[in-house]
């Protein structure tokens, strides 16, 4: 184990996988000479050379398709977006090509490609640069969607994403890159996709949360414990498609109460899907309606105070947990 940042954990995952398999290559804007817009690819160009770490022109649609085409003939591309907001220009390559080629060809193609980059808001970057769009991708059959919240998860899940034979949308937290955690140094360390992680066990209420708000939710669980004597169980699905819903349902069947948190917008969000799964499969176990805490249903504002108001703050998670526990 070593205490390293989320950024360095991703860097290790990339480096280890590229050393292991010469078919893996990394493309994106500023991934090479600049060492990555967020320094995730630091040192990789020097180690692997320009055919395996290639700076791309600012042409998201073009280089996304470059990756998909290379995957069609058996290579294993990793496509980095400077942020997922810019991948909106490439969504045809992800949704119409990568996600569909296997199905439309009757299984003639594998699509071992990883699309990755920072997602969610950073500090005052305003509406075009601050979005959590995981619900869009999780909607699409043919894609897998992963959103790690810690350095350990980031490393283990990125390695699995790269090894997967299917297209994986890998959403990193723009505000998580500097956050440290203990991470195994073992090259064989991976975490399987599609397995939830119980980040904190508890008995009274289940909190489901992924990506950066995991950390606000952890703070909320401490407040609930301290101020209300509420023992909250925190579950991070980590993979949003396929989602390990059973771990969530098992927890809800024990706690009988649930709060679902996400940074994205509320309407048709990830939480909306989880609520549906709970009401279909655990309706009789519920002692209160499921509550959701999301980003505000508004574009992301620039002003510092408004931006803070937009986030699913620990304070709101506490309120929601009290509500479902009837402790207001």
């Amino acid at each position: 184990m070593a205490l390293i940042t989320y950024r360095d954990a991703l860097n290790q995952a990339l480096r280890e996988e590229m050393r292991r398999d010469p078919d893996i290559f990394l493309i994106g804007e500023e991934v090479g000479a600049y060492q990555g817009a967020y320094k995730v690819s630091r040192g990789l160009l020097e180690e692997f050379g320009e055919w395996r770490v290639r700076d791309m022109p600012i042409a998201e649609l073009g280089f996304t398709g470059l990756g998909v085409g290379a995957a069609m003939v058996g290579l294993r591309p990793i496509v980095e977006y400077m942020t997922w907001s810019f991948a909106l220009l490439a969504i045809d390559g992800i949704v119409n090509a990568a996600a569909k080629l296997r199905y439309m060809s009757g299984g003639q193609f594998k699509m071992p490609i990883t699309f990755r980059g920072p997602s969610g808001a950073a500090n005052q970057l305003a509406a075009t640069h601050s979005q959590a769009l995981e619900a869009w991708y999780a909607h699409v059959p043919g894609l897998k969607v992963v959103a790690p919240a810690t350095a350990r998860d980031a490393k283990g899940l990125l390695k699995s994403a790269i090894r997967d034979e299917n297209p994986v949308v890998f959403l990193e937290g723009e505000l998580l890159y500097g956050m440290k955690a203990e991470v195994p140094e073992d090259e064989d360390f991976t975490l399987p996709l599609g397995v939830s992680d119980v980040k904190r066990p508890g008995d009274d209420v289940t909190i489901v949360v992924h990506s950066r708000p995991v950390h606000s939710a952890l703070r909320a669980t401490e407040i609930l414990e301290r101020e209300d004597g509420i023992s909250a169980e925190l579950i991070d699905p980590r993979t949003l498609r396929p989602m390990d819903i059973d771990t969530i349902l098992d927890s809800v069947r024990r706690t009988n109460r649930c709060v679902i948190v996400e940074e994205g917008w509320p309407f048709c969000g990830i939480g909306a899907q989880i609520v549906d799964d709970i009401q279909r499969e655990a309706f009789d176990y519920l002692d209160a309606p499921v509550a959701r805490v999301t980003g505000a249903d508004a574009p992301h504002p620039y002003a510092g105070n408004l931006e803070q108001l937009h986030f699913p703050q620990a304070e709101y998670i506490v309120k929601a947990a009290r509500r479902v526990c009837y402790r207001e």
């Binding site: 073009g62 439309m104 034979e165």
Partner: protein, 347 residues
């Protein structure tokens, strides 16, 4: 720069077998599409179905000089390109019929034919969406240091979409062995080229990319197409340089099965003018007859041979079962995907 290659009457130095083979492909392509039209009328084929009638010289001229290990990728008007790559006509027909014996098990249909085993990489129905994929295939060729090439066909309308510039720029920037072939059939659906593109010859756009050569050629002359593509293939294979060929051609039928042959956006006279004076198959036959390469009897036997292939392919398609209900959920992912039917208790 766009240049016209000199029209040679030397038949490119090809021997009789090669010339007859090209003619055979053109006739097969024409008759296959006619048969698809008939099958559409009787309801065996559904959805969008775009026929290639009138454009045969482009695919035949461009694909007959390719090597078996080269790659080909195109848009949705793709049946004839697939055939030329060596796809089985029966499996294409079965795909159009929506049957399990189809090349994509009936899940892709007319616009999404695929057969990577013969280098046919599709069959893509989003205008311009496949150009970046061609660049990726070219990148993979360089990555693996082989001397394959990738030929990418595109419609005239694609010259105006963003993916065109992004792709051609990257192909030139990374020196990729990709040959882009614009099939300028004068219209993108009902929009004449001059109403969509602010340029006369689309291949002139090649000059925007260092190292890329452009040619605007007569796409109704199968030998002119072949002669040009041979130069482009050599540039790609030997020098890792991309090219842009614009083959001027014409589709004799509507855009898709629902579009009449003429009417709102082009006149009956225009269509019949092309059919009677610029039919690529007639032109090639006249040339071969004049040079005494083939006789009327040869033509007859070619037609017979092609008819047999088509009868067999329709027979094969009809005899194939339709997909099983379980196939709805297969081939989405490799391996297991837990819970894929969990939210679907009714089906």
């Amino acid at each position: 720069m766009a240049t016209n290659i000199t029209k040679s009457d030397e038949l490119l130095g090809l021997d009789r077998d090669a010339l007859v083979e090209m003619l055979r492909w053109m006739i097969l392509g024409r008759r296959f599409e006619e048969r698809c039209g008939e099958m559409y009328q009787v309801g065996e084929i559904g959805g969008f179905c775009h026929l290639y009638i009138g454009q045969e010289a482009v695919a035949v001229g461009a694909l007959t000089p390719l090597r078996k290990d080269d790659y080909v990728i195109t848009a949705y008007r793709d049946h004839v390109h697939g055939l030329l790559c060596g796809m089985d006509p029966g499996r294409i027909m079965a795909e159009l019929f929506g049957r399990v014996a189809g090349c994509s098990k009936g899940k892709g249909g007319s616009m999404h034919l695929f057969d990577p085993a013969v280098g046919f990489m599709g069959g893509h129905a989003i205008v311009g969406g496949h150009l970046p994929l061609a660049v990726g295939i070219g990148y993979a060729i360089r990555y693996r240091e082989t001397d394959q090439v990738c030929v990418c066909f595109l419609g005239d309308s694609v010259a105006n979409i963003g993916a065109f510039n992004e792709s051609l720029n990257m192909a030139a920037l990374f020196q990729l062995p990709v040959v882009f072939v614009i099939e300028n059939n004068q219209y993108g659906m009902g929009t004449a080229v001059h109403r969509a593109a602010a340029i006369e010859n689309l291949a002139d756009r090649a000059c925007a990319y260092s190292g890329m050569q452009g040619w605007t050629i007569d796409g109704m002359d199968v030998l002119e197409v072949r002669g040009t593509i041979e130069m482009a293939i050599d540039r790609a294979r030997t020098h890792k340089l991309p090219s842009l060929i614009e083959a001027k051609t014409y589709r004799f039928v509507g855009h898709s099965m629902s579009d009449p042959n003429y009417g709102h956006y082009r006149t009956k006279e225009e269509v019949s003018q092309f059919k009677s004076h610029d039919d690529p198959i007639k032109r090639f036959i006249e040339r071969l007859v004049k040079r005494q390469v083939i006789s009327a009897a040869d033509l007859d036997s070619l037609e017979q041979e092609v008819k047999k292939i088509l009868d067999d392919s329709v027979e094969f398609a009809k005899s194939s079962p339709i997909p099983q209900p379980d196939d709805l959920y297969s081939d989405i992912y490799t391996g297991e995907f837990p819970g894929i039917r969990r939210r679907d208790p009714w089906r």
